[in-house]
Amino acid sequence: MVAFTNVIPPMSMTALRALINAEVVAMQRSWLVRAWVVFALITSLLPVLMVTDETEYVSEVIGGWLGLYFIASAIIAAIIGAGSTAQDTDVAADTILTRAVTRWDYVNAKLLTRFACVIVVHAAATMPLLFFARRFGLDDATTVGLLMATIITGMMLLFVTALGVALGTVLRNMIAAVVIIMIVFTLQGFIFDFLNMEFLSSGAVIEMLPEMIRGELGDWQQTRIVLAFGLGTVALSAAASYAFDQREF
C-alpha cells in the first residue's frame, strides 16, 4: 500500500527553515499583526501632518509620537511574544516536536519571526515618518539622533517581545504573561528610580527621546540604554529557550 525508498537527505538548517516559513505564513494570517501594521502606518502620518506647517519642532513631534507608538505597540508585541509558545501547545506537541526538530529549533523560529515582525513593522512606520518630518518640519534633529531614537524604540519593543516569549513559556498562559508585563511596565519607573537605574525604565527613555533626537544626550547615556535593552533581550531569549527545552508535553 504505502512504500517509499528509505532515503532522507542530510539535514542542516532544514528544520529551522521549515519552521520559520510556517511561522511567517502564520504571522501573515494573524489579524493582530495586520491590525498592528495598519495602526502603525496610519498613526505615523499624524506627525507628518503636524510638521508640514513648519511650526513644530521635529524632535518634539517625533519624540512624542515614538513614545505613544511605543506604548501601543508594546502591548501588541507582548501579546505576539507571549502567545508564541503559550498557545496551541497541543498542536506543537502533536505535529512539530515529534518530528525531526529540536526544542531550540522550535523556540528560535518563534523568536526570530517575532523579532523580524517587530523590526519590519517598526521600520515601515518610522522610516517614511523620519523622511517627511525632516523635510517639512522645523528641523532641529540630527541624523544620528533620529536613528538612535528609532533604534532604541525598536530595541525596547524587541525587549518586550522577548519578555513576552519568556513569560509565556514559563507561565504557559498568554493572558497571565501579558498582564504581568503590563504590571511590570506600570511599576518599572518606581522600581528603577528606587534602584537609581532609571535609564532602564522605558518611561524615562521615552522622555529622553526629543533630547536624543536633537543629539543632546550623552554617548554613554545612549550606550548604556542600548546595552541594557540589547543584553536584556538576549538574556530573555536564552531564558525562554532554556525554559522551553525543559518543558514537558
Partner: protein, 328 residues
C-alpha cells in the same frame, strides 16, 4: 555502547515517570521491542500507555531510567533519531486553518525531504488514507476519524523505520478500522511497529508481541502466542436458540465436559484437561441436535487474548494485595 545496527528498535530500562511529585504514571518498567516486530501495548485507561509513548518520542522526560531507540539515547532534542520514527498521538491535533496538503508539506519539509518527494508522497498518502476528497479542506472541519487518518499519513511522510502509533483506530468506523489494521500488517513486513489500543481484537489480528501495562507497571511482555497459551482452557461456547438447560442436564454425566454453564443464549462448556477438542465438539453438536435446540454460533477459544488479558490483570491484582500484606 550497543551496536546501533543490531540493537533492538526500542530498549527502555527502569523507565519511571512521576508527575510533579504527585502522581506516579509509570513505576519502573522495562520494555524491549526487537526490530521488525509488530508490538501491541494494551492496558486499561490510565495504565500509562500514552505517557510511555510520549517518553519514547522525547516529549516527556523519564523521572528515572533510560530509553534507547536503535541503540541511541532518546531525549527532547534527538531530532536525528526522530527522523527514523513516525509518531501518531491519540486524537492528534493539527493547525486548524491548514489544509492536509499544507500540513503534509510542512511535515515533509521539517523532515528534510525535497519538494518533489513531498508532493509525490503527500499524494500517495492522501489517496491511500481516503483523504483525497478533503485535501483542500481546512483541518479544523475534520471529524475525529479524518484527523486520525491525517495523523497516520503525517507519521508515514518521512518513511520511518519505526512507527509508534497511540490508539490508531480511534474514531474510525469498522471499515476504517480494518483498513488501518491491514495497513499495520503491511507496514510491519518492512519496519517495526508499536501500537497501543483498547481493541484487543485488533492486537490479536496484527501483533506478534504484546505488552500489558496496568497501573503503571508492565505485567506482561512477550510473544502473543505465549500469553494465550497461559489461559488455554479448551472452552467451547455455543449460542443457542432454545432452552439450553436441557443440554446442560444431559451433559452433566458427559465424561469430556468438566464444567457446564447455561446463561441464555450462551452455553459454555469447559472441557476436562486432555479432552480432544474435535471429539468433544462433534459430540456436543450431536447432543444439541438431539435436544432439538437451534445452534446460532459456535466459538472455541476465540477470545483467548481477552481472557489472557483479564486473567493477567486479575493475577496482578491478587499479587499486589498479597505483596502489600506481606510488607505490612
Amino acid at each position: 555502547m550497543p551496536d546501533t545496527n543490531t540493537a533492538p528498535a526500542i530498549e527502555a530500562t527502569g523507565l519511571t515517570k512521576i508527575f510533579q511529585d504527585k502522581a506516579v504514571a509509570l513505576s519502573p518498567i522495562d520494555l524491549t521491542v526487537r526490530r521488525g516486530a509488530i508490538f501491541g501495548l494494551i492496558g486499561p485507561n490510565g495504565a500509562g500507555k500514552t505517557t510511555a509513548f510520549r517518553m519514547l518520542i522525547g516529549l516527556q522526560k523519564p523521572t528515572a531510567g533510560e530509553i534507547m531507540i536503535f541503540g541511541e539515547r532518546m531525549h527532547a532534542n534527538a531530532s536525528d533519531l526522530r527522523k527514523r520514527i513516525g509518531y501518531l498521538p491519540t486524537a492528534p491535533r493539527f493547525p486548524a486553518s491548514a489544509t492536509p496538503i499544507e500540513h503534509l508539506r510542512f511535515v515533509g519539509q521539517v523532515s528534510g525531504l525535497d519538494d518533489d518527494l513531498v508532493a509525490s508522497r503527500s499524494a500517495v498518502l492522501l489517496r491511500d488514507l481516503d483523504l483525497l476528497g478533503a485535501a483542500g479542506q481546512r483541518i479544523g472541519t475534520f471529524s475525529t476519524g479524518m484527523n486520525t487518518r491525517l495523523g497516520i499519513a503525517a507519521s508515514l511522510m518521512n518513511d520511518p523505520e519505526l512507527l509508534i502509533w497511540d490508539e490508531p483506530t480511534t474514531g474510525l468506523d469498522p471499515v476504517g478500522r480494518r483498513q488501518v489494521t491491514d495497513l499495520i500488517k503491511s507496514l510491519g513486513k518492512t519496519r517495526t511497529v508499536v501500537v497501543s489500543t483498547h481493541v484487543l481484537g485488533d492486537v490479536d489480528r496484527v501483533c506478534d508481541e504484546v505488552g500489558i501495562l496496568y497501573r503503571g507497571r508492565m505485567i506482561y511482555s512477550g510473544p502473543i502466542g505465549e500469553m494465550k497459551r497461559r489461559v488455554q482452557s479448551n472452552t467451547i461456547e455455543l449460542e443457542l436458540d432454545g432452552d439450553g438447560s436441557r443440554v446442560v442436564q444431559r451433559g452433566a454425566s458427559w465424561e469430556l465436559g468438566g464444567d457446564w454453564e447455561w446463561q441464555s443464549p450462551m452455553l459454555r462448556v469447559t472441557l476436562v484437561d486432555d479432552a480432544p477438542l474435535a471429539t468433544a465438539m462433534s459430540q456436543l453438536l450431536a447432543l444439541v441436535a438431539d435436544e432439538g435446540v437451534a445452534l446460532i454460533s459456535i466459538n472455541s477459544g476465540g477470545n483467548q487474548l481477552e481472557e489472557a488479558f483479564l486473567k493477567r490483570l486479575d493475577e496482578d491484582r491478587k499479587g499486589s494485595i498479597l505483596s502489600g500484606w506481606g510488607d505490612g
